[in-house]
């Protein structure tokens, strides 16, 4: 390929990424080091009167106030809960699909992914209708006489974990399916010939060989769940201060852009390893499914 063409091929998208992805992160670091002021834009400049004005005061504030630590811990806890729930539903699902006849597998996988073409927002909205104290589940159970008063399933942490499980379940099923599908069936036949029972075959062959898919799926669910905003905002109460929600509130409600930026930097540092690990899994999954 000619030199000019090569340069264009990389240069055009790289310039775009630099402008709309690289540059923004330089600004988030810059604003995190400045202070909030009532002005336009609402933060102090980093250089004024010929010297550096930045400080780590925002980070000190984050360390002092328990609100922020609690939000981080709550986010990690709820994201972990959603990941485990997705695993509990997604692994059996991937296993069930991988075990059907070959011509059924693609349509079944498409059915798993199909909810993605309906808006994410709409799917979370559906859970409000189901879980509210005056919602479908509560009203139905009452009219059946199974419960006496209205059932308040939301706002609650359980509703948030359920909402994230529902939203991200396909992210778990697809990579696990991709790794199950790659396992050579000869291995299971050989084990059975040697006298292993089906349970034994599963535990000592299928499960260990599907662990890369389990790791990939868990990262795909965990990473977006930690920073989730829409689900805790719609299904959680004021008692569910997930970090994505706190960043949003600091930015939109308190107009404290520097503090919101500092929180984003902390969240970024927290997710750096899982994000880097998830990237390797992404390429592998995209290849496995295509």
């Amino acid at each position: 390929m000619s030199g000019l063409l090569r340069r264009l091929l990389v240069g055009v998208p790289a310039t775009w990424l630099l402008l709309f992805f690289g540059l923004p992160f330089a600004f988030i670091l810059k604003v995190a080091l400045s202070q909030a002021v009532v002005a336009q834009p609402p933060f102090t400049p980093l250089f004024a009167d010929g010297r550096f004005q930045g400080s780590l005061a925002n980070f000190a504030l984050l360390a002092e106030d328990d609100l922020y630590l609690d939000a981080i811990l709550a986010s990690l806890r709820l994201a972990a809960t959603a990941t485990v729930a997705c695993l509990a539903l997604g692994y059996p699902m991937a296993w069930a699909i991988a075990g059907t006849k070959r011509r059924w597998r693609a349509p079944l996988l498409a059915l798993v992914a199909l909810p993605f073409v309906t808006s994410f927002l709409i799917r979370v909205y559906a859970w409000i209708g189901l879980l509210r104290p005056t919602g479908f589940l509560s009203e139905t159970l009452q009219s059946l006489g199974l419960i006496d008063g209205p059932l308040a399933l939301m706002p609650s942490d359980v509703a948030v974990a359920l909402g994230m499980t529902y939203t991200y379940l396909p992210f778990m099923v697809l990579p696990i399916y991709a790794s199950l599908e790659k396992i050579d069936p000869v291995l299971a036949f050989a084990a059975a010939d040697l006298g292993a029972r089906p349970g034994r075959v599963f535990w000592s062959i299928t499960l260990p060989l599907s662990l890369p898919g389990v790791l990939a799926g868990s990262l795909f669910v965990f990473v977006p769940s930690v920073g989730e905003f829409v689900v805790p905002e719609l299904l959680g109460g004021p008692g569910t201060p997930m970090i994505g929600k706190v960043i949003w509130q600091e930015f939109f409600n308190n107009r404290d852009w520097p503090l919101a930026s500092a929180l984003a930097v902390v969240l970024l540092a927290l997710l750096a390893w899982p994000i880097a690990r998830a990237q390797r899994a992404e390429t592998a999954t995209a290849r496995g499914l295509s």
């Binding site: 998208p13 909810p115 927002l121 709409i122 379940l169 930026s261 970024l268 994000i275 390429t283 290849r287």
Partner: protein, 263 residues
């Protein structure tokens, strides 16, 4: 086999139950979205007369179409570079940035982009915050998905087809147009569709980078959902589910037909 069927049944019930609830109650007569009071299509009528919602829907469709097209161009260039150029300077950084766009929490991405747009506001000729900045944000998100799909498609593609065409005397440009492009066209179409749906669905990036006057459909739906249930939203959701399912089914049908023809 019956265990597998049971699992399939339960998980599909979990995945589709809430969507079924939306569809059924969009045809409910009463204002309450929880008790059935009779069949009616009145909420669809009210939806179509809701000017704020219709304006937002129109704006969202325009933003989604433009940003998906930009994302497809930028993403396929990126996918080509990653799959075909081998090692080039900054490759690791380039691939890393694309992957990070996919996995980063939207709240971080939205905040970062807004801060950059605020800084760029002073540049002469910069369009200012609104529909244009939403397009830029959505195109950035979409291009990462397109790059992933195109790269995956190119890496499991038989290069001997291109080599054969070159041996037979075709110019590189002819090879690209008559061999490479038709083979990756499904990936481009699929990538465009993903980018389009992402844009049509995003509330977080749009809320951060938008300015006064540019309100997208998800922003309206989100503020309405915050206030509680609304049968108009059920009607809107049902229309979106219907259109989305139709688009996917026709795409599957088209791709299936292509495969049969090429056999």
């Amino acid at each position: 086999m019956s265990l597998r069927l049971l699992i399939l049944g339960l998980v599909f019930a979990f995945l589709y139950g809430p969507i079924l609830w939306i569809v059924v109650f969009s045809f409910n007569e009463g204002r309450l979205v929880t008790l059935w009071s009779g069949f009616s299509t009145r909420w669809y009528g009210e939806l179509l007369r809701n000017q704020r919602l219709m304006d937002a829907a129109g704006l969202s469709l325009v933003i989604a179409a433009i940003s998906a097209t930009l994302a497809t161009i930028l993403g396929s260039l990126s996918g080509f570079a990653l799959a075909r150029l081998g090692r080039f300077r900054g490759r690791l950084l380039f691939a890393g940035a694309l992957g990070a766009v996919l996995t980063l929490p939207e709240v971080i991405l939205g905040l970062a982009q807004l801060l950059a747009f605020v800084a760029l506001d002073d540049l002469p000729g910069w369009p200012g915050r609104g529909a244009a900045t939403i397009v830029a944000a959505h195109a950035t998100l979409g291009m990462a998905y397109v790059a992933l799909v195109v790269q995956a498609r190119l890496s499991d593609f038989d290069r001997s087809l291109e080599e054969a065409a070159l041996d037979l005397g075709a110019t590189p440009a002819t090879v690209f147009l008559t061999v490479t492009l038709p083979l990756i066209l499904p990936a481009l179409g699929g990538g465009w569709l993903i980018a389009f749906m992402l844009s049509l669905d995003d509330v977080v990036l749009a809320s951060f980078v938008s300015g006064p006057g540019a309100t997208t459909l998800p922003m309206v739906v989100f503020s309405s959902a915050r206030l509680g249930l609304n049968p108009q939203i059920n009607a809107l959701a049902t229309l979106m589910v219907g259109i989305g399912a139709l688009a996917v089914l026709s795409a599957v049908w088209l791709l299936g037909r292509r495969q049969e023809l090429s056999r």
